[in-house]
């Protein structure tokens, strides 16, 4: 087994799937130009050499086109995998995602189906409001889409392969600070993890318990799953035992694993980088407020980015995005409640 970054794990998934299945192909702006970067974050670099320009399409800057091509090719037997450079541009293709990709199977009475993967880098990295968003929450609200957010190299490869094989549209949120690719980001987290070569998949709808604990259940994804683990370490020393759960996929969502944990801890906290109001944390919270309120010994906390666009300057960006410190404070409060 090799130690791979998430960027390379994703690439390996793409390579293996493209070798395995001729209907899989990649597209996107600057997805692989000789001398270029391979998307914005190196994931697709090198694919052109192996698979040629017929299966690695460098597109015009045209997000409606990119998404529309996925819908059209997907519904007629292909498995397109598109790279979006920055997830923020999802809004430029929102109609194709929400009105077309997500609804076509249903509207056709289940006759048509659309395998397609839309890869959306997310997270705040000192680039300003239009290149910084965490956007998962918009898409968990769209029946017909699946939404995943791998945070380890192992998951990245396994979930990506699963996404490519899924017969429905899948949005993949990849965090810029977790890629660990050749493109260096300030504040990036160094994670290289063991990634088996060859075939394996990670099932959708199965959360990963990143750390076991008995006092507080913390559900956190992507970058926040690392901050939550960091906080949990500190809290452990303070005598507060946190169970950290990484949902890995938001649609489908593994309520069961979280429920089991909540029944044990009686306390639930959700942490995400997406903004607070109407975030996916609210959905998880509301689920437990409806189905498990009697299992709870305390208020359900949602720690999320404050309700602002993402500011550029570090002092403000760091303030808006949940820090380990903020998670710590919320957990301490919860521990007392």
């Amino acid at each position: 087994m090799a130690e791979l970054s998430i960027a390379d794990a994703l690439k390996q998934a793409l390579q293996e799937e493209m070798r395995r299945d001729e209907t899989v192909f990649c597209l996107g702006e600057d997805v692989d130009i000789k001398g270029g970067m391979g998307g914005a974050f190196t994931v697709t670099k090198g694919l052109l050499d192996e698979f040629g320009p017929e299966r690695v399409l460098n597109t015009p800057i045209a997000e409606i086109l990119i998404s529309g091509v996925c819908v059209g090719a997907g519904m007629t037997g292909m498995r397109p995998v598109a790279d979006l450079q920055y997830g923020d541009f999802l809004f430029c293709m929102m109609d194709q995602l929400v009105n077309q990709a997500a609804k076509m199977c249903y509207m056709s009475g289940g006759k048509v189906h659309i395998p397609m993967v839309m890869r959306a880098p997310c997270g705040a990295t000192n680039r300003g409001a239009q290149h910084a968003q965490s956007l998962e929450s918009y898409f968990i609200h769209v029946p017909g889409l699946k939404v995943i957010c791998p945070s380890t190299p192992y998951d990245a490869k396994g979930l990506m392969k699963q996404a490519i094989r899924d017969d429905n549209p899948v949005l993949v949120f990849e965090h810029k600070l977790l890629y660990g690719g050749a493109r260096k980001e300030k504040d990036a987290i160094k994670i290289a993890g063991e990634v088996p070569e060859g075939d394996y998949t990670v099932e959708f709808g199965k959360a990963a318990v990143r750390k076991e604990g008995k006092d507080i259940t913390i559900v956190a994804n992507l970058l926040m799953s690392y901050r939550a683990q960091e906080a949990a370490k500190v809290l452990e020393e303070e005598g507060i035992s946190c169970e950290v759960i990484d949902p890995r996929t938001l649609v489908p969502f593994d309520y069961e694993t979280v429920e089991k944990s909540v029944k044990k801890t009686g306390k639930l906290m959700i942490v995400h980088e997406d903004t607070y109001t109407g975030g996916w944390g609210a959905q998880v919270s509301s689920h437990f407020a409806e189905h498990n309120i009697y299992d709870l010994d305390a208020p359900i906390k949602v720690v999320a980015a404050y309700d602002t666009p993402i500011p550029f300057a570090s002092p403000m960006e760091d303030f808006v995005i949940p820090s380990t410190e903020r998670i710590l404070e919320a957990a301490r409060e919860l521990a007392k409640a």
Partner: protein, 327 residues
């Protein structure tokens, strides 16, 4: 005048146009009577476009249509029964009652689920054509859209990519002079809203009489041939006119009587019928018989659909994700 084809072919086209006309008229009355649910955007008056373009497509070719899909769907071979059942929201509808009038289609005959987002089907057509090319088939996609749709950003993105990638797709603008109630002259400075834009992508285009099924059929042949041979996309702009309103409720108060008269005098079915008679392709009796048979068939399907079972309410929860259908 465009050359009259051999009888079987000519009658085949005539039949299909009649089927569309009578289907739309029947539905119009069902709406007036309050029997049919939902809303409608009807295609009568534009039958020549559907039939001229689609008549020679193969089953393996694809069409992509709009909020005004009935003519295209029927021409591509979506069954009358499944169409009518869908209009009534029945379980046997081509979309099991889930789609409705703006989403008819049947992928098994190459009729992609119709798209009610104006311009939404244009980039999807590029994707379908890309698939045809990638899998090294010689199949093509024919994508219909309105004059109004050509002002959408999706038009621009789709046509540009189709040109750059030389996709096997024919983009067919049915220019019926209006987008809903707005004259296309108010929203575009060009005489030919789609065709005159071909230069902006490097796509050849033709302007065709959209009420002449034979003119359209010849242009279609050229464009489809080009696509099959890997020479890339073509834009066809077919000048035509709606008989009815934009949708249920629309009395066309924005059109002049003069304009309507002028266009109605060039009805695509009446004029083709006149040629069939004049040129001795068919007799009045033959044609009447055809028309009656079609009407009888449509009436039977109305009857069938009205009595067909409703979908189970709970079936609404199914097929949000694929459960293994036909495709």
């Amino acid at each position: 005048m465009f050359k009259m084809p051999e009888k079987e072919r000519a009658i085949g086209m005539y039949k299909k146009m009649c089927e569309i006309r009578q289907y739309e008229e029947t539905i119009y009355y069902l709406f007036l009577e309050g029997i049919m649910p939902g809303t409608i955007h009807q295609s009568h008056g534009q039958e020549a476009c559907a039939v001229g373009m689609i008549y020679d497509l193969r089953k393996e070719d694809y069409i992509l249509t709009t909020h005004r899909p009935a003519g295209h769907d029927l021409a591509k071979g979506v069954s009358l029964r499944s169409m009518m059942c869908e209009m009534f929201g029945k379980a046997e509808g081509c979309c099991k009652g889930k789609g409705g009038a703006m989403h008819t289609g049947d992928i098994s005959v190459g009729a992609v689920t119709a798209n009610a987002i104006v311009g939404g089907n244009l980039p999807i057509a590029a994707g379908v054509a890309l698939r045809c090319k990638m899998l090294k088939t010689d199949n093509v996609a024919v994508c219909f859209f309105g004059d109004g749709a050509s002002n959408e950003g999706s038009f621009h993105e789709a046509l540009n990519a189709a040109a750059v990638w030389k996709l096997p797709v024919v983009y067919v603008c049915e220019n019926n002079l209006y987008s809903a109630t707005t004259s296309i002259k108010m929203t575009c400075n060009l005489e030919n809203v789609a065709a005159d834009r071909g230069l902006a992508y490097g796509i050849p285009s033709e302007v065709v009489d959209g009420n002449d099924v034979l003119a359209i059929n010849e242009a279609a042949e050229r464009a489809i041939e080009r696509a099959r041979k890997g020479e890339g996309p073509t834009i066809l702009e077919l000048k035509t006119y709606r008989i009815g309103g934009h949708s249920r409720n629309d009395a066309c108060g924005y059109r002049t009587e003069e304009e309507e008269k002028e266009w109605f005098s060039r009805d695509p079915i009446a004029s083709f019928r006149a040629r069939l008679l004049n040129e001795g392709v068919a007799s009045e009796e033959e044609l009447q018989k055809i028309e009656e048979e079609i009407q009888a068939q449509i009436d039977a399907e109305v009857e069938y659909a009205q009595n067909a079972p409703d979908p189970e309410p709970e079936s609404a929860l199914r097929e949000v994700y694929w459960e293994g259908g036909i495709a």
